[in-house]
């Protein structure tokens, strides 16, 4: 079986690749990373769903993502899940795994304006979008860095053109 650190290093390399390729353009680099994540999430979800019962509703599906999948993907459980019961979910992971790699010895909160830090969450952003889309809930995902962690906001069935 493939060791989990290999994924971390691969992820870092991919981020570096797009960072070097699009030096002045964080948006383009993020879009590429997010697109890769989406593809992975979509196929992964398909492979996983064959062993899983269908989830009753939207909330159930998001709970499954937070409780079971999150542990497999990011090796820890989410710290908090909130919803307004109208299709908006906010997931908070206080020590997001893929972001911890950028902090080697620094013991201070992650700078949300740092270009590299932004790139480090773009892939995961797409990953979540891909997983939920394939489970039947097309959505928009935005991510925001908070202290040491990340807050993902998922908006299921977003109305086009309305933020």
């Amino acid at each position: 079986m493939v060791d989990e650190t290999l994924f971390d290093y691969l992820h870092m390399s991919i981020v570096e690749h797009y960072n070097n390729e699009n030096e002045s353009d964080v948006e383009t680099a993020s879009a590429y990373l997010s697109q890769i994540g989406y593809r992975v999430g979509y196929s992964l979800s398909e492979r996983l769903s064959k062993d899983n019962a269908r989830y009753r509703d939207e909330l159930d599906t998001v709970k499954y993502l937070c409780k079971e999948l999150w542990i497999c993907l990011f090796k820890r459980q989410v710290d908090n899940l909130r919803t307004n019961h109208q299709g908006v979910y906010v997931i908070h992971d206080g020590r997001f795994r893929l972001l911890q790699q950028t902090l080697t010895t620094m013991n201070k909160p992650i700078d949300s304006n740092n270009r590299l830090h932004t790139l480090y969450i773009a892939y995961s952003n797409g990953l979540l979008r891909g997983i939920l889309t394939n489970m039947g809930y097309p959505c928009r995902v935005t991510a925001e860095i908070v202290d040491f962690g990340v807050r993902f906001q998922i908006e299921v069935n977003p109305v086009v053109g309305q933020k």
Binding site: V2, L10, D51
Partner: protein, 192 residues
């Protein structure tokens, strides 16, 4: 959760493996796609370019991997000869990270070059090479980069290449590793 079957269905290690192989696949596909849209004239160059990127991604992975590897295997010391390096590379390196232990064969008479036969490469689990120029893609190239990067950190300069690849219809996947020289007290050179 109010599901009727509360049993955890997911095998974490399996998901980790699929996450890894799918991510690498999506990355390669994206790079292939990126370079399709470049000037036709530069096609040849691009082919070399995406090879270079894959290799450098692998190189970066290897450079980091070696630290992790040495931390986990404190008993591994300096190798006495290249045969020992080959042994550790296959039985500990490949085994730890990819979960396979390739067999070591085809030593050159001088003992400076050997082959690793990869049996059941997890990297290529869901892979089929695209038609056309994509057939020339060296999908596993990243492994070469990783080996080169990792060994360079322990002062060994090697050359790595695939001489046979099951993806391309060969019978086996054979990776050739050639010893070039010992790096003496040199700081590792970044690849950029």
């Amino acid at each position: 959760m109010s599901r009727t079957n509360p049993k955890q269905n997911l095998d974490t290690r399996r998901v980790t493996q699929e996450l890894f192989t799918l991510t690498y696949g999506a990355f390669v596909a994206q790079i292939l796609h990126d370079y399709e849209h470049v000037d036709e004239v530069n096609k040849q160059l691009d082919k070399m370019q995406y090879k270079r990127f894959q290799r450098s991604s692998g190189y970066n992975i290897g450079v980091r991997l070696i630290d992790d590897f040495l931390a986990r295997n404190p008993t591994v010391g300096r190798c006495n000869d290249f045969r020992e390096t080959a042994d550790i590379l296959s039985k500990q390196g490949f085994k730890t990270y990819l979960g396979i232990a390739p067999s070591i064969t085809n030593w050159s008479p001088a003992g400076d070059e050997f082959s690793l036969l990869l049996d059941g490469n997890p990297l290529t689990e869901f892979v089929e090479l695209p038609e056309g120029p994509g057939q020339k893609l060296s999908y596993n190239q990243i492994i070469c980069g990783a080996i080169r990067g990792a060994l360079e950190m322990v002062q060994l300069e090697v050359e790595c290449r695939f001489v046979q690849d099951q993806l391309k219809g060969d019978n086996t996947t054979e990776l050739r590793v050639k010893f070039l020289k010992k790096l003496v007290d040199a700081l590792p050179v970044g690849e950029d």
